[in-house]
Subunit: 128 residues, 6 copies
């Protein structure tokens, strides 16, 4: 089982619409601030006594979020024909984070949580 | 392992007493605001790209909490002969949430967390 | 000086663009969750020992926010030819709240605060 | 104008009922966790570079709250014939804090804020 | 009266000691994370509908905090012969922020709040 | 799987330096407030309907943190020749908490989380 976790924060502000009657008023073009928490899991600490360098973790998260900042997700190729729900967005971010990890990272999992408003949030965990 | 989690919030304001010397001053009739977070776990997303409809999740939580709002738990039949600790209350809520899920929900677990005051909280997870 | 304050919370999720080079990347169509806190000030309590009925305060805030929920502010008549910054939006909300107060409210001021993302927020106070 | 503010936190868990139809379901005997923030204002710092000793501030708040902890406010003499709304409770606390300040305190005001649940809070300021 | 407020956040992690028996165990060399909120007040909005450019506000705060980051305050010339209490540190920051504002800023006040730990915080307001 | 969790909070304010170029500016002697959350896991509730006595949990956490409060970790014997990263500190705390549990505790795991600043936190889980 993963024993250690390191979490860093960032956020994105995006527009989108969810085009199915299932989503009610969210079918309109609207937007959201997604407050993002990215967590990295490791079974034991590295030689410096950390899960990973916290600066590197923050920079990896920032560069992963960069293509989404101030965007209208309805116009992005990577979400074509998908509902850009919070769950879909965080899965996308988690997969990009996992792909961006350096060789020999020693991590067991990546988790991404997004708070979309003060009363709801979602998370996804990707095993590595 | 559960991969996705959706969490929605609500709260209840209840009175109760904990009638055993084990509980010290909480033996008095007093009360609490329980800030509730209900989480729903699912291994993969449904056809709409969500764990479950967030509106349905919020309504299920609200209707589950309704019989407890503004109540003195010492007088409720469902807690007769039980200590109404935070742990007991959240287990009750989690079991009712699980029982209220629609057929074919596809969820793997439900978790309920309650913050009883700014420095203490408890949670319980029920596998489905 | 106002002595008592009552604050209630709500939120809106909107899309907008800020069309001037002053706003940098926020010139793009993007969006935000605005976590809203509305405060009502009163020099002394009413006959029921409150600033105002908390349910009435929450409903007034909710109905004031209703026309903005899930909207693209670029398309709303009331913001035509204005930059829909957080400050402009909260001033609009505060003025509508003030206009919606019942006769004989006895309040001295209304304040609206919005958190637009985890690291920035703005407020405006309107004297009554 | 007060320039400096020092704030310390504590909380109480109480039962009460609000016996007038004005209060709707809160007419029932129920309860609340009141998360309390007590603020002390001073125009300039004392010889030690502080508004007041932070330990003394915390102890004053704790001893002021002590008679209310784990109580049913319906049974307390000091609230007889009053509605124990959040506003009434915090005014009571603020007045007791003010009365408990040491001679020569040099403060200009005391403010007490209580969060009664995650979506509502109230405050009162008492000038000294 | 100031009507609008814009607030941005940052933080510093410093070491220091408070060398007087008044401070009890804080006489030891220890440290703190100071979570900083800087607020800027303005009576009316500028031509872009804001209190000030939020990016400029964040950069001004960051550059003001830069000389304090990862420092032992006991060794800094600007705090020689002073107790580096939270109040003294935030007054220093507020004065530097005020001094760093661009000409023609139109602001009426600057306020700096620091949370030194989860249960205590302080603020100072400097009129401009 | 552990089903119930009880969490209590406390904090420490420490100085330290991280003496390797890996840590960049944190090589300087600086400090941190570590906001600590200690969680206790149990598969079923005890005879009183709790994971463990919440007062006992808070006291165990407080006494475990006592030797670290207001300390310069560079001078403590137990961290000699180690980098006192957040991860190393919380593992130390978790092991001490586990060692301090009473006989027959019935717990399955202990978890310690520390927030070192508003945008980063770490946790460690120790199976019992």
């Amino acid at each position: 089982m993963s024993r250690f976790r390191l979490t860093v924060d960032d956020h994105i502000m995006i527009a989108h619409s969810l085009n199915d009657p299932f989503f009610g008023p969210a079918q309109n073009l609207h937007g959201a601030t997604l407050s993002i928490q990215a967590s990295f899991f490791r079974d034991s600490l590295n030689e410096f006594g950390v899960v990973m360098d916290i600066g590197a973790a923050s920079e990896l998260l920032a560069s992963t979020l960069e293509p989404l900042r101030y965007q209208n997700l309805d116009e992005l190729e990577e979400f074509r024909d998908r509902f850009t729900t919070t769950e879909v967005i965080i899965e996308h971010i988690a997969q990009r984070l996992a792909a961006g990890l350096p060789a020999g990272h020693g991590l067991s999992a990546v988790e991404v949580e997004a708070e979309e408003h003060p009363r709801a949030r979602a998370s996804v965990r990707v095993q590595l």
